[in-house]
Amino acid sequence: MLDHDILIVGGGLTGLRAAVGLCDRFNVGLISKVYPTRSHSIAAQGGINAALTNNPDSRDDSWEKHTFDTIKGSDFLADQDAAEIMCKEAIGIVYEMEHWGCPFSRFPDGTIAQRPFGGAGYPRTCYSADITGHVLLNTLYERAVAKGVKIYPELFVAGLCIEEGQCHGVVALDMKTGELIPVSAGVTFFGTGGYGRVYQHSTNALINTGSGIGMAYQAGLPLKDMEFVQFHPTSLIGTNILMTEGCRGEGAYLLNNQGERFMQRYVPSAMELAPRDIVSRCIQTEMDEGRGFEHPLGRYIQLDLRHLGSKKIIERLPGIRNICIDFIGIDPVLEPIPIMPCQHYSMGGIDVDKRCASELPGFYAGGECACVSVHGANRLGGNSLLDTIVFGKLGAQAIGEDLEDGVPRPDEKAILRLKDKVEEKFRRLAAPGAEKPYRIHAELGAVMNEKVGIFRTREELEQALDKLIELKRRYGDVGVSSPVRYMNYELTAALELEAMLDVSHTIILGAILREESRGAHFRTDFKTRNDGDWLKHTIARMGDDGSPVLSFKDVTITRYQPTERKY
């Protein structure tokens, strides 16, 4: 049995930042199913928000203005105290990353460069060309190596151990040897990332299954605001690789098949830089009304960079250019990029407070797998990288405070009991079954895409629910090709699929219940926001029959009374 004071699951920005904050004082172990630098955080492109006021156009920016933009962007569902903390911490966090060596792009005066992003009153998005996630994640991994954090790469967490109102640790599969390893820990912190892959079309890495969210939920923890799913306006058709909002930040146009900058008709004040939920709906509407382009890979809209000129494109968006050339054979210097909206980010997640604490002593979560909530119904671009590092840091601080009187003693017997359960699951999956995991995954992705997408109606959501219940039933017959446990990706995929089905269940049910439109959740049968009935968080717990049971929780409002969200 492995034993740590504090176990961190997740080698993305959140997990690494938490580990770096705790390893001096505690015996910390960090588990990740991939080498940390393969985590999804690596793929973030556009930047991280902080009111540094480095940009000549942002001299009178402030963290308060950042807070307001965040809350307005969230369609007033964010907890305002938490959003305030995040935006205030942002400035110090960016400087700290810089001091640790993060190679940000620079302005001519040697300060960190900042670009405009959607929904922001000032250009406050700090960046490194279009590889901001890459430089941040490498810097934090380097810090973790410098501090000697004990890292276990390629350990796949298969179950979270909660008994008698306490968290005792996890059971993990060593992917190299196939051994099931019980891990006991006084405190467990999840930074396990989002669930994008429950959708067929997603910008997310293939490993973003949301299994951490699913496992926490299966272990009895509540999830929050799961119906709020962000659809990014601009993903490359076919592969759905992200074309960063930084493209539009640098001045790119969105064009329909009439060659029209159609955002003019919807949000003339913000044009292409309106918040994501709004731009995605505009693009979808253009395509639905016949003003898209047709392509064998799907209908699309053009993202046009050409007028920026080759110098700016090559300097500021080199990664975007390479992706276009490698993946669709188009050079954006010469041709517009064919894009479509698709799933991008999970606003909802494990219900935690602004200290990353869950309702259960000994269990904490942060980053995309968690919902504090700072993003409410719609996250602003550049606020998620911020969320991961800020709450990685604050979560670590909170854990440090909570352990001042000593580290709780986990119950090893409970972990061994969980190990037996996981064993049993593995045996069942390894028995020949009629269903292949990928089929169920593909059908899940398709139904989430078609019926739980940008525009939603009760009728379609109920169809999605029926389908989900069918898929859950069929999951009982899933079998994988080989009982071998090492480097058996079909086996781990089958295990994660169970979590994906549960996560999707909470998304669909939340979307059915919420009879209003707010942020990224748009109901064509209830087109307006309804603060009287729905200014509240949705909480989902797993009921006795395995289905979610929903309840609600108040939103924290401090300084900003909800008003109509206009841009």
């Binding site: 393969r38 400087y95 490194s128 890459h134 190299k176 993946f327 090709s481 080989s482």
Partner: protein
């Protein structure tokens, strides 16, 4: 309508847990539409034909460094390689060279990361930090740019002729040199000259035969040989300075 063409995929299979079995190719015939990447075909094979096939992947967009392998004799990332990029309808896939295979296309990366850790791959500073950012000019930032772009995929490590001489070579490999040079050239880094000592020997930068295979193999246009040459120059300069210093002291 896009037309699918028939392709033959030959994939080298091996299972280190069954040492009695020797590596052999499995052949899969699959219809592929233009624009599909090698990685997406691998996923289809695992999903639909052979669930036991083992390979790594994560970002599917050439940024995470998971999926390096040998594709028709060329080292590259499976996710950024188009099936249609070759003048043949047969695609042969083999694991990264210079590593032990764990299973199929999955190799044991431990030696790669050990070398990475050895070079102190992080910014080292002693001076107090300012309240705001440490200023860095655009030119200074540009100096480290190519090295910053490394995604640690180990294509260079797999391509290196020195490492190919066998596990006894103990050579640090190109990627670790890139990481070290990235910090040595960073205007903010204050590592002492002695920090280069760990790679100042025949297992370090002096082992490189400057054959440039790593440069050809890098999917991110990083030039590891530049880093190695840069580190060698820095070492020579340090030695001169040391000798000069000594001479001065003796005088």
């Amino acid at each position: 309508m896009i037309k699918a063409s028939a392709y033959t995929f030959k994939i080298l299979r091996y299972d280190a847990m069954k040492p009695e079995s020797s590596p052999c190719f499995s052949t899969y015939k699959i219809r592929v539409i233009p624009g599909l990447t090698v990685l997406s075909v691998l996923i289809r094979i695992r999903d639909e034909i052979d669930g036991t096939l083992s390979f790594r992947s994560s970002c599917r967009s050439a940024v995470c460094g998971s999926c390096a392998m040998v594709i028709n004799g060329k080292l590259d990332l499976a996710c950024r390689t188009q099936v249609a990029a070759f003048d043949t309808d047969t695609i042969i896939l083999e694991p990264l060279p210079n590593f032990e295979v764990i299973r199929d296309l999955v190799v044991d990366m431990t030696p790669f990361w050990t070398m990475y850790e050895k070079v102190q791959p992080y910014l080292i500073r002693h001076s107090p930090v300012p309240e705001k950012e440490l200023p860095q000019s655009e030119a200074e930032r540009l100096r480290i740019d190519q090295y910053v772009n490394c995604i640690l995929c180990a294509c260079c490590y797999g391509a290196c002729p020195v490492l190919a001489r066998g596990p006894d070579s103990d050579y640090m490999g190109p990627a670790a040199a890139v990481k070290l040079e990235r910090f040595v050239l960073d205007s903010r880094d204050e590592r002492p000259a002695g920090a280069l000592d760990v790679v100042n020997d025949e297992k370090g930068v002096w082992a490189c035969d400057t054959m440039f295979h790593c440069i050809d193999a890098c999917p991110k246009d990083v030039r590891p040989t530049d880093a190695i040459v840069g580190l060698r120059k820095a070492m020579v300069k340090n030695r001169f300075q040391k000798m000069l210093g000594k001479a001065k002291n003796e005088a």
